[in-house]
Symmetry: C2
DNA sequence: TTATGCATTATGTATGACATAATAAAAATA
DNA sequence: TATTTTTATTATGTCATACATAATGCATAA
């Protein structure tokens, strides 16, 4: 055999473990649409027999699917296919302490991107009740002389409400995932010190724009509102 | 005992399995910062002994951490703590076929939010080489008479490049995760039919703005560029 | 008809054994 | 002595078996 084809054989050598293969096989089973949400998959022993591996391996593969949120297994009923709550799953494993600094900084940035980008969805889906609630929140807004660091709760209440208005649950979950990270990055020495803690467009200003303005105006205002954060990133 | 406190006792009944507890215990171990990235955790048998459970349970708990990307285990060295590549992990489990329609639609929306919101990062971090590459990509842009459905590749190349310019790897991974979803939603009957396939701001137009304009202008232009998608969501 | 209890069944847990791969120690070779 | 080869050790990977536990459905009794 020529050395080239030999090397090809090497490179294509299957280094994956047994469990890997079984996992792939099971995932493919789901992909093939043969199984829909709510359907139950074969019992562990049956799978073990059909795939010719031990129950241990099957269990481990199934466990992976379970951690990924693809299935749920009940005591007697066996395992049933579920629609995975992705961000629910990850938020569990997102732990600022175990993420490297670069990633943390990037997730910090991600929040800024989201809040500027979601303008259209706010304007499209906001209700009078939402505006009322926003006004109630900003009525308690601390005045401009205070550092917002002291007002985390108010920040979360206001911005959280904005996410809620978009009506996008996935987005909301994403925010919940980002929240502890944002807080962590804020307090860690990861970013530059905040030189000037100016207050730009206030929460009240944002609400005014939501009520009387346009998505364009909102994006610019939000960008301005977040200037304190941007300056720590860019300067 | 009063019925109320009795019920409280019931509600606080610990329904979690052994593995759940062990998992929680291990995760807390990591959180406590006693262990940093690169450190190795005790051997399975040692853990089993110390926690008073079987090796089976330990293995399953460790496996969960591994799926979540918190640890990696090597044959002899035992398990070592790793910095999880969150989005790398989930993109593996994000499978349009197993996600429910509501979630799919929301992820579709998420892309629109990101691309409008990331303007500032593009302008802040773009290099002359990037602009050159963008121009090269748009030089092959299909003319306005064609439906962009026929030009998915070009779409991905252009928009992918924009993500790349932001220099935010997490964002990029996030996009890679969203990509198959976006494609899927597009082709499924999930959204309204596209009534008018107009061409708004073109890719070339976006590049012009990147070169000569401002983040504000870019956001508005991108919003316009994505109008076809928005109209399918809003109308 | 409605509880109650019982048998069944599939997952959860425990145990012991061996396979495999990575490492370190020991031995052999130059 | 330095370097390579062999061997032993060790921790994870896989297998097999047994029993525990909880959920389900059926049968039985009130």
């Amino acid at each position: 055999m020529a050395i080239n084809s030999l090397m090809e054989d090497f490179s294509s050598l299957d280094t994956s473990s047994l469990v890997d293969k079984v996992e792939a096989k099971l995932v493919q089973l789901l992909k093939d649409q043969k199984l829909n949400v709510g359907d139950s998959i074969p019992k562990e022993l049956e799978l073990a027999e059909r795939l010719g591996v031990s129950r241990t391996v099957i269990r481990e593969a199934l466990l992976r699917l379970r951690v990924m949120g693809l299935i749920e297994s009940k005591k007697k009923k066996g395992a049933v296919i579920t629609s995975p709550d992705i961000f629910g799953i990850i938020s569990k494993s997102v732990n600022p302490h175990v993420l490297d600094q670069a990633t943390l900084k990037e997730m910090f940035e991600l929040r800024l991107i989201l809040e500027i980008g979601m303008a259209d969805f706010i304007f499209q889906r906001i209700s009078p009740a939402d505006i009322k609630e926003l006004k109630k929140i900003v009525s308690k807004e601390p005045d401009a002389t205070q550092d917002y660091l002291f007002n985390i709760d108010h920040e979360i209440a206001f911005h959280g409400k904005l996410y809620e208005i978009t009506g996008n649950e996935t987005l909301k979950k994403f925010q919940r995932m980002l929240l502890p990270v944002f807080d962590y990055v804020h307090h860690s020495g990861l970013l530059k010190k905040q030189v000037s803690i100016k207050r730009y467009v206030s929460h009240k200003g944002l609400v005014d724009i939501i009520e009387n303005g346009s998505p364009e105006m909102f994006r610019n205002a939000m960008r301005n509102h977040l200037e304190n954060h941007f300056s720590r990133l860019f300067e």
